[in-house]
C-alpha cells in the first residue's frame, strides 16, 4: 500500500547544522543494557530501527569520563580509543541504512555513583544526590569547571572519530548542565551561580567549546528539561529555558526538549497509566516559538496523524520516539507504506525502562519480543523464516498474551495450520480484564495488535468458546500441541512471604475475593472496608486499591514488602501511583503479613516481629498474594495420557508457554510464546537455544601472557 499523502511531511528531509536527516523520525537517546561494552548487541539493536526507517538513532546516555560512571546502571562510555572502536560499529551500521548516528554526551555529577571506577564526580555544589542515595559530588572550583569542559570537548572529538553525526551536550534529567542551570542543585555564589546568566554560563561555555571542536562536521544537539514541576528551586520554562534557548540558539543546531528531573523522570517517560501521548507538546511548543533551530522531542507518539499535527501546529520539527521505537522499530516504514494496522503500538507500561532502573539487564518490551534479541538471538521483528517442520499442524490451547504471540509467530513461520483454541468467547486471556483497571486502557493494545495480525494470517484460525480437555487435545489432530492456559490468583492466601496459605483465607466465601473474581467474573465486593493483601509487588494490588477506592470503598493496602508496589518504582509509576492512592485516602501498610482471617476480621503480624499482632476490622479481603499456573491440562496430557500415547496419535511435540509454565510479567509471557515459535523446528524446542553472550573470551594458552595493570 502507499503512504497516505497527509503523512508526507514526516518524510521531508531536514537540515541540522552540517548534516541532513532524511526524514522526521528520530530515535531519542534511550538505554538498552548494552552500552559500549556489548558493541554488537548495541549496533544491531540501533540498526534495526534504521532499517525500519528511522532518519537518526542515538546512543543511550554516553559517559564522557570515568568520573561519570553510572554503574550499576549501564550507560555507553566514550572514555578512550577502544570505546571509539566499539561505538563505531553502531555508527557504521546506521550509516549503511542512511540514518544519522547521534551520541548523547553525559556527565552525571552527583548522580553518578562511580561504583566501578571509584572516581569522585564533580558538581556545581556539594549536595547529595536526590536519585542515587549515598552519592555526593565534589564542588567544582574554576579549574574543575575548565577540566570538565575539557572532558566534554575530548569526548566530542572521540564521538566524531567514531563516526557520530550529532553530538549532544545533554542537560536534562538533572545531569550536569541542568544542575548548573537549576537552583535546586546550584548553590554557588560565584559567576556560575545566582542570576540566570550565571547559572547558564557553564552550559553555554560548554556548548561553545564543543561546537568549536566538532561543529564543522557534527550537528550540536542540546537536550533540555524545561520543567521540574517543583516550583522555585526547579528548572523553570519561562525563567530558565526560554531565555537559554534565546541565548544559545546561534550555537545550537537542534534542540531536544523534554521535562523532569531524574528522581521523577516518569514525568518525561510517562506511563500510559497517567498520561496520554503528546503530553510534552505544550513545553515543546513554547520552545519552538523562540527557537530558530529545529526542535525535536518525544511524546510516546504511535499515531502518524498526531505526529503530523505536532509538526503542523508548530510544536515540533522532528518526531522523536523512544518507547514506540522499541515496540516497533519499523514504525516509520509502516507509516511510509500505509500499513498502519501493522504498527505494534507501545502500551506505555514502561517495562523497558524498568530494566535500566533495576540496573543492568537488557531491555525487554511487552509488545516486541525481539527487542534486545537482534544480535544475540538473531531475531528480526518483521522477518520470519519458514519452519523446517512447517508441514505440521499446531494446536495452541489458550489465547492469552503467550498463546496469541505463539500462534501469530507460528503462522508467520508458515506452519500448515495453527488453531488457537480459547475457552472464553474472545482472545486475550488476562489482557481482556487487566486493561479495565484504572488507567490501563492502552494495555489492550497487546490483544489488538495480535488480533489484527492473526486475522490476516490465513493459516491461523481462532476458535473461541471451546474448552478442550486432555482427551480433546489428544484427538484434535495436531502434530504439535502448545499449552498456554495461563495462571490464577491463589484463592487461599498462598504467598511468597510465608510460602504457605493464610489460615481462614478462602475466596469461595463472599467476603474473600481474588483479582480475577472482581475484574473478570464480576464478584461483588461486600461492605465498605476492604483490605487488599498484596504480596505480589507490582501493579495488581495498587490498581485494585485505586479501583475500589474510586468505587467508594475505604481501602487498606497491606504488603509484607517494604514498599507498596515496589516494581512500580522501576516502571516510574510509583510517584504518581502514591499520589493517587494518597488522595483517595487509601491506607498503605508495609511489612505486615496476615496470620489469620475470618469474615469481619483480619489479624496481621509485623514481618520482623511476629509477636507484634494487629487486628483489622474489614468487610472484605482481596487476595493479591501470588499466582499459580493453570497446569492441569498440561499435567493430564503429560502424566495421565503420557507422551507415548500422544505420539501414537501423531503428536510429536507437547510444550507449554507463559504463565501456565510459571507466572511472570506479560512481557515475558509474550517472549515465551515468541521464543517457542521461533525455535519450533529446533532439536529441542522446549529448551531455549543458546544465545550469543557478548563477552571477552580468553584462550587458556594466552592467559599466561596476559597481565593486569602494572604493580
Amino acid at each position: 500500500m502507499a503512504r497516505d499523502p497527509r503523512h508526507d511531511i514526516l518524510f521531508e528531509p531536514i537540515q541540522l547544522g552540517p548534516v541532513t536527516m532524511k526524514n522526521r523520525f528520530y530515535q531519542i537517546p534511550h538505554c538498552n543494557g548494552f552500552g559500549s561494552e556489548k558493541p554488537l548487541n548495541q549496533a544491531y539493536f540501533r540498526a534495526m530501527k534504521a532499517e525500519g526507517g528511522y532518519g537518526a538513532c542515538c546512543t543511550e546516555y554516553c559517559s564522557i569520563s570515568p568520573e561519570s560512571d553510572d554503574t550499576h546502571r549501564v550507560s555507553a562510555r566514550i572514555w578512550d580509543d577502544d570505546d571509539i572502536k566499539n561505538l563505531s560499529v553502531m555508527c557504521d551500521m546506521l550509516h549503511e541504512h542512511g540514518a544519522l548516528a547521534a551520541c548523547e554526551l553525559w556527565y552525571g555529577g552527583p548522580h553518578a555513583p562511580c561504583m566501578e571506577t571509584r572516581a569522585v564526580p564533580r558538581g556545581p555544589s556539594q549536595i547529595p544526590s536526590d536519585f542515587e542515595h549515598l552519592t555526593y559530588c565534589k564542588e567544582m572550583d574554576k579549574d574543575d569547571i575548565r577540566e570538565v569542559q575539557g572532558l566534554y570537548v575530548a569526548a566530542a572529538k572521540r564521538a566524531r572519530t567514531a563516526g557520530f553525526d550529532i553530538v549532544y551536550v545533554y542537560g536534562s534529567h538533572s545531569y550536569l548542565p541542568q544542575q548548573f542551570l537549576t537552583p535546586y542543585y546550584n548553590k554557588r555564589t560565584d559567576e556560575y551561580g545566582g542570576s540566570f546568566e550565571n547559572r547558564a554560563r557553564f552550559w553555554r561555555e560548554t556548548i561553545e567549546q564543543v561546537k568549536e571542536a566538532v561543529g564543522d562536521t557534527c550537528a550540536i544537539c542540546v537536550r533540555m528539561s524545561t520543567d521540574m514541576f517543583m516550583g522555585e528551586p526547579g528548572t523553570q520554562l519561562e525563567r530558565d529555558c526560554v531565555p537559554f534557548v534565546e541565548m544559545c540558539d546561534d550555537i545550537v543546531d537542534v534542540w531536544d526538549i523534554n521535562v523532569s528531573g531524574i528522581s521523577e523522570w516518569g514525568e518525561d517517560a510517562t506511563p500510559s497509566r497517567f498520561y496520554p501521548s503528546g503530553r510534552l507538546l505544550p513545553w515543546q511548543k513554547r520552545i519552538k516559538e523562540v527557537a530558530k533551530k529545529p526542535v525535536l522531542g518525544v511524546g510516546r507518539f504511535v499515531d502518524p496523524n498526531m505526529m503530523v499535527e505536532a509538526i503542523e501546529s508548530g510544536c515540533l520539527d522532528i518526531i522523536a520516539t523512544c518507547r514506540p521505537s522499541i515496540s516497533d522499530p519499523f514504525l516509520p516504514k509502516k507509516i511510509d507504506e500505509g500499513r498502519l494496522d501493522d504498527i505494534r503500538e507501545c502500551i506505555g507500561c514502561n517495562i523497558c525502562i524498568s530494566r535500566w532502573e533495576i540496573g543492568g539487564p537488557p531491555l525487554i518490551c511487552t509488545q516486541n519480543a525481539t527487542a534486545g534479541e537482534e544480535y544475540r538471538r538473531g531475531w528480526h521483528p518483521e522477518k520470519f523464516s519458514r519452519a523446517e517442520n512447517a508441514d505440521n499442524d499446531v494446536l495452541v490451547v489458550g489465547s492469552g498474551p503467550a498463546g496469541m504471540e505463539c500462534a501469530m509467530v507460528l503462522g508467520k513461520r508458515g506452519m500448515r495450520r495453527v488453531h488457537l483454541v480459547e475457552a472464553q468467547d474472545d482472545m486475550g486471556g488476562i489482557m481482556r480484564w487487566v486493561p479495565q483497571l484504572p488507567g490501563l486502557g492502552e494495555w489492550a493494545r497487546v490483544v489488538n495488535y495480535r488480533r489484527i495480525q492473526i486475522d490476516k494470517l490465513k493459516n491461523v484460525e481462532f476458535i473461541p468458546n471451546t474448552e478442550l480437555d486432555a482427551d480433546g487435545v489428544k484427538d484434535y489432530g495436531a502434530e504439535i500441541v502448545v499449552v498456554a492456559t495461563g495462571a490464577y490468583w491463589a484463592t487461599d492466601g498462598l504467598n511468597g512471604c510465608t510460602h504457605d496459605t493464610i489460615p481462614g483465607a478462602d475466596a469461595s466465601q463472599p467476603w474473600c475475593l481474588t483479582p480475577e473474581q472482581i475484574m473478570r467474573d464480576g464478584k461483588e465486593v461486600p461492605g465498605d472496608k476492604v483490605l487488599i493483601v498484596d504480596d505480589d509487588g507490582y501493579y495488581m494490588g495498587p490498581s485494585l486499591a485505586e479501583k475500589l477506592a474510586l468505587d467508594g470503598k475505604q481501602v487498606t493496602l497491606m504488603t509484607h514488602l517494604g514498599h507498596i508496589g515496589p516494581y512500580m518504582h522501576f516502571t516510574l509509576e510509583a510517584p504518581n501511583m502514591h499520589r493517587k492512592l494518597h488522595k483517595l485516602k487509601v491506607e498503605m501498610v508495609t511489612y505486615q503479613i496476615p496470620t489469620q482471617m475470618e469474615q469481619g476480621k483480619v489479624t496481621s503480624a509485623h514481618v520482623f516481629d511476629e509477636e507484634h499482632l494487629t487486628d483489622w476490622g474489614v468487610d472484605a479481603v482481596v487476595l493479591v498474594t501470588q499466582r499459580r499456573s493453570n497446569e492441569a491440562l498440561f499435567r493430564e496430557l503429560k502424566d495421565r495420557i503420557g507422551l507415548d500415547a500422544l505420539n501414537a496419535e501423531g503428536i510429536t511435540g507437547l510444550y507449554r508457554i507463559g504463565d501456565c509454565e510459571a507466572p511472570r510479567l506479560t512481557a515475558d509471557c509474550v517472549f515465551s510464546g515468541h521464543r517457542l515459535a521461533r525455535e519450533i523446528d529446533s532439536d529441542d524446542p522446549a529448551t531455549p537455544k543458546p544465545f550469543i553472550r557478548e563477552r571477552r573470551v580468553i584462550e587458556r594458552e594466552e592467559a599466561g601472557s596476559l597481565t593486569g595493570a602494572a604493580i
Binding site: D393, R417, H419, D475, Y476, G477
Partner: protein, 255 residues
C-alpha cells in the same frame, strides 16, 4: 434422510480494490476467499438434524465454481458433511443467480433430498436470489430467511419461523422436500478440529458438468467506485456537543 446444502465460496475485499481491465469485475489479486458465512449456519443446521435423527442419512454439499471453490466446500466437509458435488463452472463470479440456480437444480434433482438448505444470501453478491430461484426451478416449497426450524422427518413436514421486516416473525409449516434459506444465528456453527479438517481432505468431491445454464438474467456491464458526494459535515467538539448536534440534525431531517 438426505439434506443438500448449497454452499458458495465468497470473495472478500481487502483495504484496496482494483478492477479488471474490462472493468466488469474486481481483480482477484485484491480478493480473499472464504466459505459464505450463511452457509456455515446452513451446514450446521443440516448436521444437527442428522444428529437428532440418530446420525442416519447423508449431508451432501453442492457448490458451483472452479477447482478453487472446493476449498470452501472442504470447510463444510470438515464440519461433518459427508460428501461434496462441485458443478464445474469457470468464472462463476460473473454468473447471475438464476444461471447458478439452474446448475444447482440439475444436481438437486438427481440427489432427490428430503431438504435443501441455502444461505439467505452470499456475502459478496448479497442478492438473496439463488435459493428461492432454485425452489422455483425445482417446483418445491420454499421458505426464506429461516431463523428456527423443527423438522419432522416421519411426517415430512417442517415447522419454520422466518424473519420478516420490522422484527416480525412468521411461523409457517412447509411440506418437504422444500428449499429453506437459512439465516445466521439459527444455531452456533461448530468449529472443525484439525483432525476433521484432515479427514475432510480425503472425502469425495464429485465433479459434474453444468449442463445448459440458459440465458443469463443479468449482466455486469461496469464496476466503479462511486464519486465522492458533497455536503458531508464534520462534527467536532466535546462528546456532549457532538451528540447535541447529531440530535439536531436528526430532528431537522425528521420534520
Amino acid at each position: 434422510m438426505k439434506i443438500v446444502v448449497c454452499a458458495k465460496q465468497v470473495a472478500m475485499l481487502g483495504d484496496e480494490v482494483e478492477f479488471t481491465d474490462d472493468g466488469r469485475s474486481v481483480d482477484t489479486d485484491y480478493l480473499e476467499f472464504a466459505l459464505n458465512e450463511w452457509d456455515t449456519f446452513a451446514t450446521e443446521e443440516a448436521l444437527q438434524i442428522r444428529e437428532r435423527l440418530g446420525g442416519e442419512g447423508e449431508v451432501v454439499v453442492v457448490t458451483a465454481g472452479d477447482e478453487d471453490a472446493e476449498e470452501a466446500m472442504r470447510r463444510c466437509l470438515a464440519m461433518g458433511a459427508d460428501r461434496g458435488v462441485r458443478i464445474s463452472i469457470e468464472g462463476i463470479a460473473d454468473r447471475d443467480p438464476i444461471s447458478v440456480a439452474r446448475a444447482l437444480a440439475q444436481v438437486v434433482e438427481k440427489e432427490q433430498p428430503d431438504l435443501v438448505f441455502c444461505g439467505v444470501q452470499s456475502a459478496d453478491a448479497v442478492q438473496a436470489t439463488t435459493g428461492v430461484a432454485l425452489a422455483e426451478l425445482l417446483g418445491l416449497p420454499r421458505v426464506a430467511v429461516v431463523r428456527e426450524l423443527d423438522y419432522d422427518h416421519d411426517a415430512k413436514k417442517a415447522r419454520v419461523s422466518r424473519e420478516l421486516e420490522g422484527g416480525l416473525i412468521d411461523v409457517v409449516e412447509a411440506d418437504t422436500p422444500a428449499v429453506l434459506t437459512i439465516q445466521t444465528g439459527i444455531n452456533e456453527p461448530r468449529y472443525a478440529t484439525l483432525r476433521a479438517i484432515k479427514q475432510a481432505e480425503q472425502k469425495e468431491i464429485e465433479e459434474v458438468e453444468p449442463g445448459d445454464l440458459g440465458e443469463p438474467a443479468a449482466h455486469v456491464r461496469r464496476m466503479f467506485v462511486p464519486a465522492k458526494g458533497e455536503g458531508a459535515e464534520m462534527l467536532n467538539g466535546s462528546p456532549e456537543a457532538v451528540a447535541q448536534r447529531i440530535a439536531e440534525i436528526v430532528k431537522e431531517r425528521l420534520t
